[in-house]
């Protein structure tokens, strides 16, 4: 083969603008006028490497397409177009147009541009009607830094300034907007309560240990949120609420592992309205229990027994996997809500290497029986890499069999 070796020189620009570079034309991005990406959640983007998901697309008709409430002419889209190529350009667009945004050397620059662009996007987005005065909290937040209880690496969080949008986006992502009556079960994460309360008519704060009730209520009242009431669940024989009395229930994953003499999921289903939403936030995955074993908090025997029993939510050793969501819910008359893609957090060792070759529960259980594998589990930093740490997901009432709605098969 005598094919000539062709020298290649890559200009310091994002690959989108190579043609401009070689034809001597200044890059100008027309994508906000031309392109629309819509995913299955109806989240939108303008290009393949956009810095965030934009306002959901509601598949409008042609007549409604250009309304300002619709995605295509939303305030941020208008801002982005109007300021393209000006000093007020969206920072991410500027970086994309002037340097190679994929080059490792520009990682920090791109991260900063993303952050600035996200702040801009959030400031321009229409907010739902909010109760309370969270936005009026003044900085610094010396008195408002919260420390999550029970967390192994207790670090203060600033939910009412730096993390405000994260909490709000979390509440919106799981569909807890403008609900009439919400049950927040488990108050390990005290900061969640005000963000649920500001978007709901009424929130019942319920705690299985009773320890956090007063502090959480105090925070809500201090933020002008009087639409909360408290409920102590210590020692109750069943949930002290009427059937179908809540439009939505938010339960913290750590509450699943609290001792209680009554089955949790059937009770939650009983108090949830027929078209209500149950959200299980950060339910423990199998990795949590293996982490506890490595930390010496549980014995090898307990770990093996627990994993071998498989995913379940009934007892204090509860854990779930993404694959098991359908089966663990069906026993309680609930159904995994596909309209809200589950959030699966996995352990990461910083690269793609991992100790567990197979993340199936049976394979994990088999590996844990092998003494040499246990030694590696304790010694290797990548031991947990790839394992499911916790899973957040929504569940809905399973329709009665005779309603004619057949269950869809799970994903391939």
């Amino acid at each position: 083969m005598n094919a000539p070796v062709k020298p290649r020189h890559r200009p310091p620009l994002s690959r989108e603008w190579m043609k401009n570079y070689y034809t001597g034309r200044e890059p100008f991005c027309e994508w906000p006028w031309d392109d629309l990406f819509v995913n299955l959640s109806n989240d939108t983007r303008i290009c393949c490497s956009f810095f965030t998901k934009l306002q959901p697309f509601d598949w409008p008709t042609a007549k409604d397409f250009h309304k300002e409430t619709s995605m295509w002419n939303s305030p941020f889209m208008q801002y982005m177009r109007k300021n393209m190529g000006t000093p007020d350009e969206v920072p991410f667009c500027t970086v994309c147009l002037t340097v190679d945004k994929r080059a490792p050397a520009n990682k920090q620059l791109v991260a900063k541009a993303k952050k600035e662009s996200l702040e801009l996007y959030r400031s321009l987005q229409a907010k739902p009607a909010l109760h309370g005065t969270i936005d009026a909290v003044e900085i610094p937040l010396a008195d408002w830094q919260l420390t999550p209880d029970g967390a192994s690496n207790d670090k203060p969080v600033k939910p009412f300034s730096t993390s405000k949008y994260i909490y709000r986006e979390m509440v919106q992502r799981w569909g807890f907007i403008s609900k009439k009556k919400v049950l927040l079960a488990g108050l390990q994460r005290k900061a969640m309560a005000p963000f649920l309360a500001e978007m709901s008519d009424h929130v019942v704060l319920a705690d299985f240990t009773g320890k956090q009730l007063a502090a959480t209520q105090q925070i809500c009242h201090a933020l002008g949120l009087d639409n909360v009431s408290v409920s102590d669940l210590r020692g109750v024989a069943r949930l002290p609420y009427d059937d179908a009395s809540f439009d939505a229930i938010w339960i913290e994953g750590r509450s699943l592992t609290v001792d209680r003499p009554w089955p949790l999921l059937p009770e939650l289903r009983r108090v949830l309205s027929q078209d209500g939403t149950l959200h299980l936030h950060e339910s423990p995955g199998p990795g949590r229990w293996i982490e506890k074993f490595i930390a010496g908090e549980i014995s090898h025997r307990d770990l093996v027994d627990n994993i071998a029993r498989g995913p379940r939510i009934e007892d204090r050793n509860a854990f779930v996997t993404r694959q098991s969501l359908e089966t663990v819910l069906v026993k309680a008359g609930l159904k995994f809500d596909r309209s809200a893609p589950p959030g699966v957090a996995r352990y990461s060792s910083g690269d793609e290497s991992r100790l567990f070759e197979d993340f199936g529960i049976k394979a994990i259980a088999r590996s844990l029986q092998d003494p040499t594998f246990l030694d590696r589990l304790r010694a290797e930093p990548r031991a947990l890499s790839g394992l499911e740490k916790c899973i957040s997901f929504n569940a809905i009432q399973k329709p009665p069999k005779d309603s004619g709605e057949a269950d869809e098969p799970d994903a391939m």
Binding site: F37, N39, L40, V99
Partner: protein, 344 residues
């Protein structure tokens, strides 16, 4: 070239004024009137509507208009999040799938599709033909927008006769993820897909195009290159020629994902780990593409011969990462043994 030097922060880089490169044809008001009138009267689809919308969008970009009257020119819609392949370089796994799908009703409500020039039913990691109602969905798009140009990326393993007819009738472009030139490599890279089935589908697509006397859709084969398929790459052009595939897109494998249900290929399996083999393979591929009339969509990489590991600096030859034996390529005869690469 303005604005290409390194500056510290995004804010510092902001332009004084970056101009739109070209003035669009006609007049802004003219195209705006056509599009608004078409919306008001629910005008039937036509190529003229698409042209008016493209020109209106260009004018709005040229003038820097924020609140637009045009519709998206290019629409990219995810129609499913399921894939039927488990490629050795792709992070897709059933875990990330919710089995949700775009509904035919959504398309039927979108009476503005007739303004769009292009529609791509791809997005994220999925196989669009795994949508159980794909034919109905595409037919609905065609009813709404008979002149929209459709293109998709697919592994071509699920093409039934009905789907082939729909594809030949409706699609302008198709990218087929082939990823190999030999059966063994294909089936090791893209399990559980079968080489014979995919090649048969592509032959039937070719025959359908010939019998309908059409060149559309134009088909481009896509190959993610890694050390296990480098050696066979020069064989591809002849196969593509036989299948009436007009182009070839070569993408070097980038390792950046983890799949939960299987071990993916690693850095030791990238083409960078075998630079001399890569140079030989790409030059031979270029020559065979010329010979069989296959268009390469992208220029192929060239590794600098002076800096090749093991050529200029013998000590570095020891540092060349050995190929990790993966479950994918542990079968004898698959992939390229390290010694063979050295012999080039």
């Amino acid at each position: 070239m303005p604005g290409t030097s390194a500056i510290a922060t995004p804010t510092d880089r902001r332009p004084v004024r970056r101009a739109h490169p070209r003035k669009p044809p006609g007049h802004y008001e003219h195209w705006k009137n056509i599009v608004e009138e078409a919306v008001r009267t629910n005008a039937p689809p036509s190529p003229d509507l698409i042209e008016a919308n493209v020109n209106l969008g260009d004018w709005e970009a040229y003038l820097g208009i924020g609140k637009v009257s045009s519709f998206p020119v290019n629409l990219h819609v995810t129609i499913t999040d399921v894939c039927n392949a488990r490629c050795g370089f792709c992070g897709y796994s059933p875990d990330i799938s919710t089995n949700r799908r775009l509904k035919v009703e959504d398309i039927e409500r979108a009476d503005w599709l007739k303004f769009c020039r292009q529609l791509n039913p791809n997005g994220g990691l999925n196989e669009p033909l795994s949508h159980p109602q794909i034919a109905e969905l595409l037919e609905a798009v065609r009813r709404q927008a008979p002149f929209v140009e459709m293109g998709m990326t697919t592994n071509a393993s699920l093409m039934s006769d009905r789907l082939i007819n729909v594809i030949v009738a409706y699609f302008k472009r198709m990218i087929v993820s082939l990823n190999a030139a030999r059966k063994e490599t294909y089936e090791a890279t893209m399990p559980p897909l079968k080489w014979d089935k995919t090649i048969d589908n592509l032959r039937r697509l070719r025959d359908a195009k010939r019998s309908q006397k059409t060149d559309l859709p134009t088909v481009v084969a896509s190959v993610v290159t890694h050390r296990h398929n480098l050696e066979e790459l020069p064989e591809l052009p002849e196969l593509l020629k036989e299948l009436d595939i007009e182009g070839l897109r070569i993408q070097p494998m980038a390792v950046r994902m983890m799949a939960t249900d299987r071990q993916l290929m690693t850095d030791a399996e990238t083409i960078q780990s075998v630079p001399r083999l890569a140079n030989w393979s790409f030059r031979a591929l270029e020559a065979n593409c010329d010979k069989f009339g296959i268009r390469l969509t992208h220029a192929l990489p060239v590794f600098d011969a002076a800096r090749l590991v093991g050529t200029a600096d013998p000590e570095h030859a020891q540092a060349l990462p050995a190929a990790r034996t993966t479950t994918l390529f542990s079968a004898p005869g698959i992939g390229v043994p390290e010694g063979q690469e050295q012999a080039r």
